[in-house]
Point group: C2
């Protein structure tokens, strides 16, 4: 029989009883579906009034801890048990994710970066330093735009790495680019039609559409977005440093043409999504559109998902000074979505040179890797039918195959053999008609040299050996 001391002063007996039973249920001392003593028996046993037990049981029923079966009695709910089952299951899922690297498939689809290459020991050292030094300051709510010293660190980095001269007060920190796209829509207005690149990164169009604004997909020519197609458009979203999925690197000429287009009308603006511009493998980083803009026609966006890890959820945007007061008036009430802790840590990571060092290390790593991949392709039987498009930027290239086999069949056979990849045409928003080219997108950030060799073998099998 349940035995409790109900001796707390200033607390009604039923509440004490209710709390003790609740605690025993949560601590698993009372088994799920186990029967509780009848109200009368428990009252007698504890030497308290029947009404006290009744009140406690009622409260427990109301809150779902126990339930009653008519004419049978009171039973402990099984919710807790169920919840722990779920917990175990979730831990299994987590381990699956962590084993990602040595899993049974070859992932050419994921554009995520290999977290094992990130200097986590330095990162955790900086985290500890921030905890010790900032202490309770970490609980102070930051400016709506983000922690100033983080924005300053970004400004300095943009200056030294991208040659971009901006002031920290133009920088707005947000929990991922998706969030910042939404803020740009709120700033520019829901009546705009947002022009997007076609083919393009699908998430961008999904975010715009989920915000209930109109989008228009604009064709690309070999230099990027086709400016002659921007009729009745005032806002255009482009990725000039390295367009996904085509890999086009917008030449300076097109950047200037785009700026000319923007300068023609007061309310035209360019959203420059510079998401993996750091990975430029030839020469110095190319100038962004913002860096050559003289008329405040560019909102610039970048992320740390590719350069640190996607889990960090930190992006930033730079808005022209002329929009600052409007932004503050309209949207300044929004709190910064990134915890100050991550902002301080990343500020330190940048300020102390670790970020640039990591970027350089990763650039060397990717440069070497892609060199190996291209050699492996050349040495393979694919060489005669393969054409690579790669503009020395970013973490994917295009592989065009000269074959009569359907894309769907190639993708299906590759998938059956453990290769996950996409074809270029899957990123086209319309005009599927003239897409007979066999162009595949090869994301090379995650795959190892050995696995890439295996992928080539699988492709050789599909394209040459199997005839069905």
């Amino acid at each position: 029989m349940l035995t409790y001391n109900l001796d707390q002063k200033n607390k009604s007996l039923y509440l004490q009883l209710y709390e003790k039973i609740k605690k025993d249920i949560l601590d698993n001392k009372l088994e799920a579906k186990g029967k509780l003593p009848s109200k009368r028996k428990l009252a007698n046993h504890l030497g308290i009034a029947l009404i006290t037990v009744e009140n406690a049981y009622e409260q427990l029923i109301a809150e779902g801890y126990i339930y009653t079966i008519e004419k049978k009695g009171y039973y402990v709910s099984s919710l807790v048990e169920k919840t722990f089952e779920l917990h175990k299951q979730s831990n299994n899922d987590m381990n699956k994710i962590l084993d990602h690297e040595d899993s049974s498939y070859y992932d050419l689809k994921s554009a995520e970066v290999d977290i094992n290459l990130f200097p986590f020991s330095i990162w955790s050292k900086l985290m500890r330093q921030v905890i010790s030094e900032k202490n309770k300051k970490l609980l102070v709510k930051t400016d709506s735009f983000g922690v100033f010293e983080f924005r300053l660190a970004i400004a300095k980095h943009l200056y030294s790495y991208h040659g971009l001269v901006v002031e920290p007060n133009q920088i707005i920190i947000g929990a991922g680019s998706e969030y910042l796209y939404s803020m740009i829509i709120k700033l520019l207005g829901f009546d705009n039609i947002f022009a997007l690149e076609n083919p393009g990164y699908k998430k961008i169009s999904k975010v715009y559409e989920s915000n209930n604004v109109k989008t228009r997909y604009i064709e690309l020519d070999s230099d990027g977005i086709d400016i002659t197609k921007l009729e009745n458009i005032n806002v255009v979203h482009v990725s000039p440093a390295h367009q996904f999925p085509t890999g086009i690197v917008m030449p300076i000429k097109r950047k200037l043409e785009l700026l000319n287009w923007a300068n023609e009308k007061e309310n035209r603006i360019i959203i420059e999504d510079d998401y993996d511009s750091e990975f430029r493998f030839k020469g110095v980083i190319l100038p962004s559109i913002m860096s050559i803009d003289k008329n405040e026609k560019v909102i610039y966006l970048n992320t740390f998902s590719k350069t640190i890890a996607p889990s960090i959820r930190i992006s930033y945007m730079i808005i022209p000074k002329k929009y600052l007061s409007e932004y503050k008036n309209k949207l300044g009430f929004f709190s910064c979505t990134v915890p100050s802790f991550e902002q301080y840590t990343l500020a330190r990571f940048i300020d102390e040179g670790y970020f640039e060092r990591h970027l350089n290390k990763m650039k060397t790593y990717y440069r070497k890797k892609i060199g190996v991949f291209f050699s492996l392709l050349k040495e393979s039987r694919l060489n005669n039918i393969a054409e690579i498009t790669y503009k020395d930027s970013g973490l994917h290239f295009l592989l065009k195959l000269d074959t009569n086999i359907n894309n769907e069949i190639i993708l299906k056979k590759a998938y059956d053999r453990g290769v996950k990849l996409n074809s270029l045409e899957e990123y086209d928003y319309y005009d599927k008609s003239n897409k007979k080219d066999h162009i595949f997108i090869i994301n090379f950030s995650l795959i190892s040299e050995l696995n890439f060799q295996n992928v080539i073998k699988i492709f050789e099998d599909i394209l040459f050996e199997t005839k069905n």
Copy 2:
């Protein structure tokens, strides 16, 4: 004269020179506005070709590190200097914020909580544990809804503290309630009219309006939102546990009426914003509308801004199971906006009982404080003209004064004497006509007993002594 060793292999000379000069500028070894040697002189000095220096200087000009004055020469830009000035300024601002508590004004306006009462030493201990134990796992991207063990911890807490039975997979984590409101709009659709409480918390209406959806302000009676006024409305946003600013605690009868209203039509839904429901100072926590809902008519929202600190930027919502697949299809591509690190830390804080202990400590603290405040008011000269409205919930009360002095004058005089506060009528979205009541909102989370005594003295001065 600048002297550098340009001896890196595999790197062009101009690039090495450009990088070394850039580094000296960033390290402040080359002073802003200082003159650089002429191209010819530097080429001779370093024993390299003129074209090499030209290329390096061009690159530095293009990136804004140096500039040229015709016929005079090359100079170091002053941007870096300027940036450091900004940094110093910002640090001053930060210190001002941190001195908040002993600043020169009495803040009855801010609903923020006193961060000094949060057990930061425990929190930082848990942060360190999470860093050590999770290590690189912290870099793994989490589920779009959030880290499972965090959602499980929330489910258990809701069960034990609020008597709310939900499954972890119904819980969606987001960087603040503002963000989650936007996600609810995206889920339910932009064509809805969102009914909001009037008077109400202004940020809620601002978020809805910034998302370009229609809102309607619904009057409150003494039990909360007036259901008879919900014509042509399908979505209603309420705070039944403790309405801001009226302090109304919605009785169970109105909750059931609201559910009946929702049950009348398939597409009706209630958004239950339970933002400071933990601070219930009498009896047990009242049942939320969600806890008594049988028909999946409630989306429930809560935040850790009041219970931990506003800087933490973690809120969550619970969506009915019937919406789960729609949510995943429509919005599942959105990444979780909260870093996994904070989620693991808070999960541990909840799981190990610290959260509930902190809540209990804060409840005792606030309960005592408000008792003292009410006694102080009673003992003051205000007692004859003051009427307090407080329903034993939440962190503010209403103070109604029987006076002929205009609200504006009272607020102005209070402000001049260092008291920041708002009147109730400032939260009314319309119908300012019959608002002659002198009702003021007293947020008591930040103010100390001593300062509250000073505030009372100031009010006595304004209301009795000064006659102008």
